[in-house]
């Protein structure tokens, strides 16, 4: 008896878990709230793992500061150090590099429904859908985090008293498969400058 009841409950649980992992479809859109109400937060899961499109470029940040006297510093590389640390160990390597990559993703990535809608609108050459309030908060959080992180990674800047900090997000696209043997193939780098933030407001 206990076995049957348990098996039934287990079945229901895994129906909910599988439901949460389906691609976007009409049934999922309608019942999503109920299912995530049951799963979140302790049974939340995401098994997309490098799919459908795996990560294929290097993303990171540079940062610069404005000092009290109004001068602006050079860009500091606040990413590479921890990526190298991760590369140099194969036994539980440091996860520090994820502070940058995770938050860079949070700036760009978002809600699957809105992404689809935006793509459709773009094809129709309509005006872009503005950011939803929750998207704005999540982006702002990531920007503040990256700025704060950058400040901690350049401790000597402006004699230790920077007034403002700015983060530059870069995406380095490596040559595609078709050009893997072309010695002249170059990386494509694009950058996005985030807004200046007061150092005092971050800590």
């Amino acid at each position: 008896m206990a076995l049957l009841v348990g098996a039934a409950l287990l079945g229901l649980h895994f129906i909910a878990a599988s439901f949460s992992q389906m691609p976007l479809n009409p049934v999922k859109l309608r019942h999503w709230d109920k299912v995530s109400g049951y799963l979140d937060p302790y049974f939340t899961q995401n098994w997309m793992l490098f799919a459908p499109d795996p990560l294929s470029d290097n993303r990171g940040i540079l940062a610069r500061a404005k000092c009290a006297d109004g001068s602006t510093t050079e860009y500091y590389d606040v990413t590479t150090k921890y990526v190298e640390q991760a590369q140099n160990s194969r036994f539980f390597p440091s996860r520090m590099s994820r502070l940058v990559t995770g938050n860079v993703q949070q700036i760009n990535g978002g809600d699957p429904v809105l992404t689809r809608l935006r793509e459709a609108e773009k094809e129709k050459k309509k005006k872009e859908i503005p950011l939803m309030p929750f998207e704005k908060t999540s982006q702002e959080e990531a920007v503040r985090f990256l700025s704060r992180y950058s400040l901690t990674q350049m401790p000597g800047v402006c004699g230790g008293k920077p007034d403002q900090v700015q983060v530059r997000v870069y995406v380095q696209e490596l040559p595609p498969w078709s050009k893997r043997k072309d010695p002249k193939a170059e990386d494509k780098v694009s950058v996005q400058d985030l807004k200046w933030l007061k150092a005092g407001s971050l800590l």
Partner: protein, 342 residues
């Protein structure tokens, strides 16, 4: 009673009376405990920066995020440095206890609470391995995962001998449900990630591995290039990954294929661990695969048992183990080898 009904009743009786894959889940518990311990250990030097009250994610912001998500974290209790150090070190000890097999399932529950707390403290560090760990530990709580690979405590035995027989009769059904839950969970992980890959262009083109292994965060200089510069390896690696993931449940359903599916999975994840530097993720997956390898683990242990005994008696002359042990060990292995309904 018709034959079909009798067969069904037999199956149910079997599932309600016999504990399946005890050795396997004990291995899962040990390895998950170890990965949890290493989560703390590998970030020990950076702990104040990553998780501390004055770290890179300020305590106030962290606390409001936890409340917003409607969950808990022990790190929200106080913003004092002493409390932080206490929770972090207690969590580390709890993980160690799970690894060594001390403290029983209560200890495992305590470990989950600490682990969830530290995960919430800096969620950006998490990956699929951590996600699987926090899902599977509650399922392990149903199972007799401290029966093997554990420093047996007299206290636990004393407690279990006083459990009323009604409750004790629930032990086998709960254990078996726990094992089945882990099996379903791991199948869900593999099938979903396989089906998602099937939809991706780079996976279809057979070049996904080429792109992933070049990303510097996931590459091992000097080794990854050997793989991604070899067209055949890229093609084979990309397609075999997808095929393996999608068909994993089939391999698990057929008892003869089961150990091979598990071994393939372990090989796959060990290479991910080495090439991509995702040790925690890889070992968490391997830990869950162990539930399918209970029989094979038993055979391996029986084969190495005489060697281990010889080594032990060599170290302590005159204090050899009693002769009873080999018999008990083979008996246990025999039980493990009965084809399992998972």
């Amino acid at each position: 009673m018709s034959a079909a009904v009798r067969k069904l009743v037999d199956v149910l009786d079997g599932a309600a009376g016999r504990h399946i894959s005890v050795l396997g889940v004990s291995g899962t518990r040990l390895l998950l405990g170890f990965v949890g311990f290493m989560y703390y250990a590998s970030q020990y030097g950076d702990r104040r920066y990553l998780f501390g009250p004055d770290g890179v994610l300020p305590w106030g912001e962290f606390t409001s995020k936890v409340h917003e998500a409607g969950t808990f974290s022990l790190y929200t209790v106080s913003n004092s440095g002493a409390w932080f150090e206490f929770v972090f070190h207690a969590g580390m000890l709890a993980a160690l206890a799970v690894t060594l097999g001390v403290g029983g399932r209560l200890g495992l529950a305590v470990h989950w609470v600490f682990l969830w707390s530290v995960y919430q403290r800096q969620p950006v560090l998490l990956d699929g391995g951590d996600n699987l760990a926090y899902l599977v530990i509650p399922m392990l709580l149903l199972t007799r995962c401290y029966d093997r690979f554990a420093i047996s405590g007299g206290f636990a035995k004393k407690v279990s001998s006083r459990v009323p027989s009604v409750l004790r009769s629930l032990s086998a059904p709960l254990h078996n449900l726990g094992v089945v839950a882990i099996a379903l969970q791991i199948c869900l992980v593999y099938v979903v990630s396989g089906l998602c890959k099937v939809q991706g262009k780079m996976w279809q083109d057979g070049t996904a591995l080429f792109y992933i292994l070049r990303v510097s965060e996931f590459s091992l200089p000097g080794v990854s290039d050997l793989v991604y510069e070899n067209d055949l390896l890229v093609f084979l690696g990309t397609y075999s990954t997808t095929i393996f993931l999608v068909y994993f449940p089939l391999g698990v359903l057929v008892p003869q294929l089961r150990p091979w599916a598990a071994v393939a999975s372990i090989g796959f994840h060990v290479s991910i661990g080495v090439l991509m530097g995702l040790t925690g993720f890889a070992l968490t997956m391997v830990a869950c695969d162990l539930i399918f390898l209970s029989g094979a683990l038993g055979v391996a242990m029986a084969k190495t048992a005489p060697l281990v005994r010889r080594l032990q008696s060599y170290g302590r002359p005159g204090r050899g183990r009693p002769e009873k042990l080999p018999g008990a060990a083979t008996a246990a292995v025999g039980k493990e080898n009965v084809p399992e309904k998972v």
